[in-house]
Symmetry: C2
Subunit: 272 residues, 2 copies
């Protein structure tokens, strides 16, 4: 049973020749969840051979261009290829108006049925659940209202097999916020933005972003199993120093690269 | 003195793993003109190492997603990278409302100065001119109002050197329209859409598109020097049959491929 994350975009703000803006796809038992949707996300689906039809839920963290511009093309294509099944979109309250407004201006209609679920929680709240996964949202600290997401595997009868449920936490865009460690404690994979290196701490703070070192500090505080950093500023032609900086604090850190897939393996409880 | 076209996107409607939706960049004496702006155009600029700062005029043929979705990210990035110089956009009358509406919904503002020039001509009319080039628009026949563009080199004093002015005609999306041959007659390079192979003529007609054979027929009628076909339906995994079909009618045909650059060489009049 898969629990696997694929990176579709790892750049912040503006894309580079090798990094699109943010989008992730999480595969939980062959159910696919799209998280953020930067420009060109539908192109990355084609490149990395992920089938659109497998995605029924989309989660949007906040309303900055580099996290949502791909949504229009993604949805327009769903319509063009004849998708009938509805799509659920979880995102900031203004997202529905934003998307409907866009399509109302377009000569093409949007026959695709979309159900919007506005995020409005302050604390952690469950926003979606199916047979395989439970998803919760929580607020992070950015210039505009922004949410992180926790995806937690549901095992049903398999929990009898002393298998541990796996979890993925998505945390961008945000200031370093140590109080989040309670929420994400012990997760298998934490994605945390690392827009800047720590030498640019002032810039990170003034733009409500984090440094690679801070991402690692949160991972350490929360005792997560693995840290994935991304959302790199386009100023870093070489991101190796950011990865090194994070690993100094939290050795089990990897770097987001477009097309990278990370399988989170099944872990069994040690027998008592 | 360059007169060179670069293809940024050659797919119609939906992008594929190797073809973005439509965008072309024409370099006339190191002045760059962007023609249509499908999703991911700014990413193609990075990949093919074209500098944004060189583009001051954008030409938009019509308001279908696959020709304009990249405009929002393209303009947002100009703002982010601190562009000060204004951008002129020539396009359908509704385009200004469309772009301004999009940015008004966004938390980010659009400090970039944009001057919109609505296209409203029925016949051929000059819409732009600078030292290097003169641009005219003309209507083609699609489901919604759609314009083609003629870029004609200006030579100034160089015309004394018996050098011939070069020309590029952009013609998409459109039905086969033989009456256009008068307008585009003798141009150096004609880009004409070839969404379908001729076996799909009925589908081409019902969707107001052309076949590869029809594109070639227009090129032959208009006695152009070279034909470039593109805007291929994503149904064609292999576009070689479309190219072959066009070459049967008009041998000097080439196929649009993302990243392809076509230099139009200087031609001198034979001395009398």
């Amino acid at each position: 049973m898969k629990f696997s994350l694929t990176i579709l975009g790892s750049s912040s703000a503006v894309p580079t020749a090798s990094r699109n803006t943010t989008a992730h796809v999480l595969n939980v038992h062959e159910r696919f969840f799209l998280i953020d949707c930067g420009e060109g996300t539908q192109i990355q689906f084609r490149k990395f051979r992920i089938r659109f039809g497998r995605v029924h839920q989309i989660f949007i963290s906040h309303l900055h261009s580099d996290h949502i511009l791909g949504l229009f093309g993604y949805l327009a294509t769903q319509t063009l290829i004849g998708r009938k099944k509805e799509i659920e979109i979880f995102g900031p309250p203004d997202l529905e108006r934003f998307v409907r407004n866009h399509f109302s201006l377009f000569p093409e209609s949007l026959p695709l049925k979309i159900v919007f679920h506005p995020l409005d929680s302050i604390g952690v709240s469950k926003i979606f659940e199916d047979k395989a996964v439970e998803v919760s949202s929580f607020q992070v600290r950015h210039r505009i209202p922004t949410w992180g997401f926790i995806f937690r595997e549901k095992l049903g009868d398999r929990s009898l097999l002393i298998q541990e449920p796996r979890s993925y936490v998505y945390c961008t865009d945000t200031l370093f916020e140590p109080s989040l460690s309670d929420i994400i404690t012990g997760c298998d994979l934490l994605y945390h933005e690392a827009t800047y290196g720590h030498a640019e701490l002032n810039r990170a703070v003034s733009t409500f972003h984090s440094t690679a070192k801070q991402a690692a500090e949160l991972a350490k505080l929360a005792e997560v199993k693995q840290l994935l950093i991304g959302h790199f500023s386009a100023r870093y032609k070489d991101t190796a120093p950011l990865l090194a900086e994070a690993r100094e604090v939290f050795p089990n850190t990897i770097e987001a690269i477009d097309g990278l897939s990370i399988d989170i393996p099944v872990v069994f409880h040690a027998e008592q």
